[in-house]
Structures are given as structure tokens and as C-alpha cells.
């Protein structure tokens, strides 16, 4: 009889039920969408913050103090130490290898350049320039057989190249925009380069064809960029680099993350190394690169950490507000559906149903609606999250089972809570006045 009453109530007034279900489904769709976007947004944003560029800098431990002013190093030529390029694949073997988004080694040498004029015999213009060797789009074979694509375009995403980056195995170069204006060379022209060597008397210039113009808004605008291999060959520093920029996905540092690993107990150290703090990633990189000093680029890491934590909190609060709105709306509509059944309740009570039975019947009905509406809402919400995620981040969030559970649970809780108040009042109804239509 109980089930029959429930089924009857649903089939008898389909339009009413449809409306309540629709309201429920919509509310839950919003809740689902807000939840899935929020769950996903943290990771997405962390990735988004990588547009700030590298957050770790690797330099040789034995290096002399750099005398760098405004991006130009005034150290005498040939002073300082280098690191071996062959160690680089090891970066993708550390515990946090999947958090390493990109890295790019840099080798800088000071070079002479010449520009051919109309006379083929001599250069029309000559000068000094900083030659930067790096990876533009380098495919690095890893020990596990896969290939990792990385380069300076990923560690320094704000570098803009007009034209294209140089290819690795041919003599191609990219000119800084200021330099290109100064010496009046553009894409397709040839630049002649030579790294002075006191041991040799004959100066041999190597030609490179310009494939792109780089603009960075910093010192590189005055430099020439070539592939790392080409600069190693020109500067006679085979298979070495001077600096390495690493861009890693990190967790914002808290007080625990800031502690010095040397003063930790083994248990703490393990917990510390198992959180992707920027300093613990730096620590594990240091262990695979002997002779290297790994430093956190504080400006990027600190700023990123602070902004990321407050943004995450903001998004959670917004989600919470959306959930609250959904809950109130659903609660209100389920309250409405109970209120309009006064007459029915009066009749049931007149026929001898107790308040408990009536309440139980209505609650069961509401729960049925909650499951149907919640399920529909979940499907709709995933669709909505897909659209929103695609629109804002370019990637849709993965549907998660947890969200489904939360959504259905919320739907059930909210409908019951919404019906509770009118149900309580309904239990106090005197059947006679209601049936008289008063």
C-alpha cells in the first residue's frame, strides 16, 4: 500500500512532479558543475601559474660569483665552472619527475659578429654580442625509453619569437629584437659569428641564417640565440652548460615546507620529501645533479604560492556559495511541493493515518525525487562543467565519482530538510477544516 501510494502520487500529478524534479535537477547541476570545476581548478591553476616561468635555477657549485648587472655578466671570459649536459635526463628520474614541466640549459659566451655588406671580401659591420645557447624544442631521450620534449619556450613562456626557433642540427640562429633593429638584419639574412680564442691567430667566422626575431623585454633582446650544441662547439665547451632553468609544479610552501631538511627527523624528512614543495623538489634535483647548486627562484615561487593559496580559497568559497544557493532553491521548491498537498494530507489523516506515516510517505516521495533529480542534475552538471572548463581553461574537468556521491547526498539532504518544516506543520493539521476547504 505504501509503495502504491508513492507510485500513485508520482504518476497522478506528473506535471507537478516534473517541475519539482526539474528544479532539483537544475540546482544539483549547478552544485555538480561548481564542485567539479573547483576540484579541478587547483591543478589547472597551478599549471596556469607555470606561465610565470621557471621556479628553480641550477648553477655549478664551484662557480665564481656572477657580476651581473641588467642581465649582462661582467665576469672575465673563461672564469667560472660548468655542468655536464649528460646528467640532464636524470632530472626525469627523481621522485617528483612528473611535476617537472620543463627545463632548459643555458650556455652563454661572448662572441664577435660580422655582417656582410655589398662587397663580398669584408664585413660591413662588426661588433660584440652575447651568444646564448639553449634548447628551443629539444627532444630528450630518457632512460625509460620515452622522449621528453622541452625547451626554453616552456620555461620562459613570455619569450615571443617572430618567425620560428632555430633547428638543432643546422646553423640557424634567432636574433634579439633590439639587436636586429640595431644591425638591420631580419629573418632570412645571414649573421657571421666567431668566439675569440687567444690560442688561435686566424679568426674563422661561422655563418648562421636567422630564422626568427626574439622579444623578451629583458637582456636577451640584445643577444643572439643558437642551439646549445652549436654554442658548445663555437665556445669549445663540449657537452657543458652554465645554468639550467627548471619549471616545476609545486604545492605552496607552508611553515612545514620552509623548514630546513637538515634539522628534520627521518619521519619528518620523509613527509617533507613526499610533498611537492618547491624546496623539496630542489633538494631531490640536487641529489641527481652532482656538483650543482639548486636554488629556488624566490620571486616566482613565493608569489605563486601566495596567490595560489588565496585563489584556491576564493574558489572554494564561491563553490560553497553556489552550493548554498542550490540548496536553498531546492529546499524552497520541495517545501512548495509539500505545502500544496494540504488537502491530501488532511484526507489521509481523516482516514486514520498517523502524522508519522504521513511524514514518512512524503519523505519517501521526496527522496525518490531527490535521487532522480540528483542523477539528472549530475549528468547536466557534468555537461555544464565541461562547457565552463573548456571555455575558461581550454580543458574540461574529469567527471569524478566523489562529486556524484556528494551531489546525490546533498540532493537527499536538502529535499528532506526543505520538506521538514512544512511536514512538521502538516502533522499539526486538523483534517476537518482542510477538508472543508478553509
Amino acid at each position: 500500500m505504501f509503495l502504491r501510494l508513492v507510485a500513485d502520487s508520482v504518476t497522478r500529478r506528473p506535471r507537478q512532479k516534473l517541475l519539482t524534479t526539474a528544479a532539483l535537477a537544475l540546482g544539483m547541476a549547478v552544485a555538480t558543475a561548481a564542485l567539479s570545476v573547483s576540484l579541478d581548478v587547483g591543478d589547472r591553476l597551478a599549471r596556469e601559474f607555470r606561465s610565470l616561468g621557471a621556479n628553480l635555477l641550477v648553477t655549478p657549485q664551484a662557480d665564481s660569483l656572477p657580476l651581473e648587472i641588467g642581465g649582462v655578466d661582467y665576469r672575465p671570459v673563461n672564469s667560472g665552472a660548468y655542468l655536464p649536459e649528460s646528467d640532464l635526463p636524470k632530472l626525469k628520474t627523481i621522485f617528483w619527475r612528473n611535476n617537472i614541466v620543463a627545463f632548459a640549459p643555458i650556455l652563454e659566451v661572448s662572441a664577435d659578429f660580422g655582417v656582410r655588406g655589398k662587397q663580398p671580401a669584408d664585413f660591413a659591420a662588426r661588433g660584440h654580442v652575447q651568444l646564448i645557447g639553449t634548447w628551443a624544442a629539444h627532444s630528450l631521450p630518457l632512460s625509460d625509453g620515452t622522449v621528453f620534449m622541452t625547451g626554453v619556450g616552456k620555461t620562459n613562456p613570455w619569450w615571443k619569437v617572430e618567425g620560428r626557433w632555430f633547428a638543432e642540427d643546422v646553423n640557424e640562429c634567432v636574433l634579439g629584437t633590439t639587436l636586429s633593429h640595431r644591425i638591420d638584419l631580419g629573418i632570412g639574412d645571414k649573421l657571421y659569428l666567431h668566439v675569440p680564442d687567444p690560442k688561435k691567430t686566424v679568426q674563422l667566422f661561422t655563418a648562421c641564417s636567422i630564422t626568427g626575431i626574439l622579444s623578451t623585454g629583458a637582456g636577451e633582446d640584445e643577444a643572439v640565440l643558437m642551439s646549445l650544441a652549436a654554442v658548445q662547439q663555437l665556445g669549445q665547451e663540449p657537452a657543458q652548460y652554465r645554468r639550467l632553468y627548471v619549471s616545476a609544479l609545486t604545492k605552496p610552501e607552508d611553515d612545514f615546507g620552509r623548514r630546513d631538511p637538515r634539522t628534520m627527523t627521518p619521519a619528518d624528512l620523509e613527509r617533507w620529501s613526499c610533498s611537492p614543495y618547491v624546496s623539496s623538489i630542489a633538494y631531490s634535483i640536487k641529489q641527481v645533479l652532482p656538483g650543482a647548486d639548486v636554488r629556488v627562484i624566490r620571486r616566482v615561487a613565493e608569489g605563486e604560492g601566495r596567490i595560489l593559496s588565496s585563489v584556491r580559497m576564493l574558489l572554494w568559497l564561491v563553490t560553497f556559495a553556489a552550493l548554498l544557493a542550490a540548496a536553498l532553491a531546492v529546499g524552497a521548491s520541495s517545501a512548495a511541493s509539500v505545502i500544496e498537498r494540504r488537502t491530501e494530507i488532511g484526507l489521509m489523516k481523516a482516514l486514520g493515518a498517523g502524522s508519522g506515516t504521513v511524514g514518512f510517505l512524503l519523505a519517501a516521495e521526496q527522496l525518490l525525487l531527490a535521487f532522480v533529480g540528483g542523477g539528472l542534475g549530475y549528468a547536466l552538471g557534468i555537461l555544464l562543467a565541461h562547457v565552463v572548463g573548456e571555455k575558461i581553461f581550454g580543458v574540461a574537468p574529469e567527471p569524478s565519482l566523489m562529486v556524484l556521491v556528494v551531489t546525490i547526498g546533498l540532493a537527499a539532504g536538502v529535499t528532506l530538510l526543505g520538506s521538514a518544516v512544512p511536514l512538521r506543520r502538516a502533522s499539526r493539521y486538523e483534517p476537518a477544516p482542510i477538508l472543508r476547504g478553509e
Binding site: 528544479a23 537544475l26 635555477l57 637582456g219 608569489g303 521548491s333 512548495a336
Partner: protein, 406 residues
């Protein structure tokens, strides 16, 4: 005629009053839905306006975002390119009503010789060539002695308060400290040609950049040391505001100081613009969805109302009420509900956003007066739009209603 109009109008409002009072429970439910919608959308709108502003402030955790430098680069450290110090005061002190933090720097390469105050005779210590950076910082138009981290974020490795000693203090980078085995409290002699300057190390900082091997000292001392009075090599400024307003600031500044090169630090300005647009996208999408949701809920409630009112409408039409007037009656009712829900809801929402703002940014969100009328109007619009199902009432035929047909 006027008498009839007045009677008509009185009757109109009387019916409205009765309609509202007819079903207290339903009235409460609709008001709750509208009020909740208004509250949440007001809270989100207020937070959105405020969050975007605050977000741009949070971005300043990244330090400076614009640089003013002399044009061209210098070939050698001995003949550095410099600009005149008066330029520093020409930087507008505010952007979007928030103070601009700016710092002026003068760089030079000096010999750094440490001396231990405990050892009287200067023994042969390590010395190193290092970059000295003279700096002065101003927030808005007030000069401040400290606060290097506002321009170049860093963490402190070691710090010691030497204020009571009344000595000239300097801060040094981590690399320099480890190269010369320095700790706080140590004394340094900076030598440039035959000139010299002394300072005591008050802090060792870790920057993760070229600053790690620099000595930071007050600007006048470095100007005297390098014999460049009234000259600076660089200005860095941390300008708050949306990416567009920072661009405008840069453009305006470039006009004020035509002989220097003004540019944004692309690494930060571009990333800020990108992240800002993403986050404000999320906020805007949420506000839109919540408003839509409120509208739909009101619509569902109103459909119920419409069905219940079939008899009333049938009667009104039977005694000569025109469809338009009946419809107007219900729309006015909806608008009144929207107004009431909006007035209470929006006030609650603004209060809510103040609390939320405190939770996120540590500072209460400043209530924006504009948000209040905007959310009330939005709620009224939503309520009227939600009353759309009532349109079906106009197609009711009185006779069929009275016959009891569905």
C-alpha cells in the same frame, strides 16, 4: 472618468494584497528562493568586484612589474649608463587608488672585504668582486628605509637587528655570504678605486637570481662610493591594478620620462594578465549560473502558482477582466515579490561577502554601494522572468474552468 480610474487602481492594489496574503506558505517559499538567489548573487557580485581588485593586489607578491632604465646598455662596468635621480619622484605615486611601491637602484662592481670586529688587526681574509646595489624604496610618496622584499621577493636566511648599534647596515645575498663565509653582524668594507665604504651585515637573503651575489646598501652611500651623486641605474616599480591599467600606467609614464626606457617585466605582466582573466572568468561564470538558477527556481514556483490560480483567473475573466489586465496583476505581484526578496536578500548577501572576503584575503571586502541596487534590480528581473509561466493564464477559457475541466 477619473473617479473610475481611482476606483480601478484601488481595486487593483486590493487584489494584489489579497493575492499575496492568500497563501502564506507559498509566499514564504517564493520569497525564500528569491531572497536566497539575491543574497548569493549580491555576495558573489560584491566579492567579484572586490576579488578582482584584491587579486591584482595579491599579484604584487610577485614584486616589481615595471622597469625604468636608461636607453641602451653599457659596454663596460666602468662607464655605466645612468639616469638622473629626479626621475624617481616623477613616477605617479598611485594607480587605481592604491599606492605604487617603487625602488631606485644604483649598481657598481666593487671589492668586498670582510672584517671581523673581534679581530683588531685586519688579517688577510677572502675578498671578492661583487655587485653593490644602492637602493631606496618608496611606497606611494613616502620613503621607507626597508622593504626590499616588496620589490624583489626573497626569503631571509639569517637576520639580526642592528638598529641599536647605530651603524650603517647592509643586506647581502646568500651566494656572497657563503663565498666569504659571512654571517649577520659581520662588517664589510666595500672598495671602489681609492674610495671605501663600511657596513655591517644585518640580513642574508635568498633570492634565486643574480641578486644572490649582491650587496644591498642605502643609495646615498653607494652614490658617494661610486662617485655618481644624484644618479641611479634603474627604477623598479610594483604597480597595482588590472593588466589594462598597468599598461596605461606604463604608457603614461613613458610620456613623462621620454629619455628613459619604460617597460613592463613581461614575465610577470603576461602571466598576471593570463591568470587574472582565468580567475575572473570562473567568478563571472559562477555569478551567471547562480542567477540563472534563481530564475529557474522562481519559474518553477510560479508555475505552481499559475496552476492554482486557474479558478481566480477564470472568475476575473468571466466578470469582464481583460487578459492584459489580469496578466499585469500577476506581473506586478511577481515584481513586488522580487523587490521584497531582493531588498532583504541583497543586504544579507553583502553582509555575507564581507565575511567571505575576510576569510579569503584576511581583510573584509569593502561593500560596494552599486552592488545593492544592481542585485535588487536583477532579482526583480529574475522574478518577472520567472513569472513567464503565468502567461498561460491568459489563454484560460472561463467556461471550461467553471465546468471543472482540467
Amino acid at each position: 472618468m477619473p473617479a473610475l480610474l481611482t476606483t480601478n487602481r484601488r481595486m487593483f492594489w486590493r487584489i494584489i494584497r489579497r493575492l499575496l496574503g492568500a497563501n502564506r506558505g507559498r509566499l514564504f517559499v517564493i520569497l525564500l528562493a528569491l531572497g536566497a538567489g539575491a543574497a548569493v548573487s549580491a555576495a558573489l557580485l560584491n566579492l567579484q568586484v572586490d576579488a578582482k581588485r584584491r587579486l591584482t593586489k595579491e599579484f604584487r607578491a610577485l614584486g616589481a612589474n615595471i622597469v625604468v632604465a636608461p636607453r641602451g646598455t653599457s659596454a663596460s662596468p666602468d662607464s655605466p649608463k645612468v639616469i638622473g635621480q629626479p626621475l624617481f619622484d616623477q613616477l605617479p605615486a598611485e594607480n587605481e587608488a592604491s599606492p605604487v611601491t617603487k625602488a631606485e637602484f644604483l649598481y657598481g662592481i666593487v671589492n668586498v672585504v670582510p672584517f671581523d670586529p673581534k679581530e683588531k688587526d685586519a688579517k688577510s681574509h677572502d675578498s671578492a668582486r661583487a655587485v653593490v646595489a644602492g637602493f631606496a624604496i618608496a611606497v606611494g610618496s613616502n620613503y621607507e628605509g626597508r622593504g626590499l622584499e616588496k620589490i624583489i621577493p626573497s626569503t631571509i636566511v639569517e637576520a639580526q637587528n642592528l638598529d641599536s648599534l647605530n651603524v650603517r647596515t647592509c643586506e647581502i645575498g646568500q651566494n656572497l655570504a657563503s663565498e666569504l663565509h659571512l654571517h649577520t653582524g659581520a662588517g664589510l668594507t666595500l672598495k671602489y678605486g681609492d674610495r671605501g665604504a663600511f657596513c655591517d651585515v644585518s640580513a642574508i637573503r635568498s633570492f634565486g637570481g643574480p641578486e644572490d651575489s649582491q650587496v644591498f646598501l642605502e643609495l646615498p652611500a653607494v652614490q658617494a662610493l661610486l662617485n655618481l651623486p644624484g644618479r641611479i641605474s634603474l627604477i623598479q616599480a610594483s604597480v597595482p591594478g588590472t593588466p589594462e591599467s598597468v599598461d596605461r600606467y606604463i604608457a603614461a609614464l613613458a610620456k613623462i620620462v621620454p629619455d628613459a626606457d619604460v617597460h613592463g617585466i613581461r614575465q610577470f605582466t603576461e602571466a598576471e594578465a593570463k591568470i587574472y582573466s582565468r580567475i575572473s572568468g570562473v567568478l563571472t561564470a559562477t555569478v551567471a549560473i547562480v542567477l540563472l538558477l534563481t530564475g529557474l527556481c522562481v519559474m518553477a514556483a510560479m508555475t505552481n502558482v499559475a496552476m492554482e490560480r486557474r479558478n481566480d483567473v477564470g472568475l476575473m475573466k468571466a466578470i469582464g477582466g481583460a487578459s492584459r489586465r489580469v496578466l499585469r496583476l500577476f506581473l506586478v505581484e511577481a515584481a513586488l515579490l522580487g523587490l521584497a526578496g531582493g531588498l532583504f536578500g541583497a543586504a544579507a548577501g553583502i553582509a555575507l561577502s564581507i565575511g567571505l572576503g575576510r576569510a579569503v584575503f584576511g581583510v573584509a571586502a569593502r561593500p560596494r554601494l552599486i552592488v545593492y541596487p544592481v542585485s535588487v534590480v536583477l532579482t526583480i528581473i529574475v522574478a518577472i522572468a520567472g513569472a513567464f509561466p503565468l502567461r498561460r493564464l491568459t489563454s484560460i477559457r472561463p467556461a471550461s474552468v467553471f465546468r471543472g475541466e482540467a
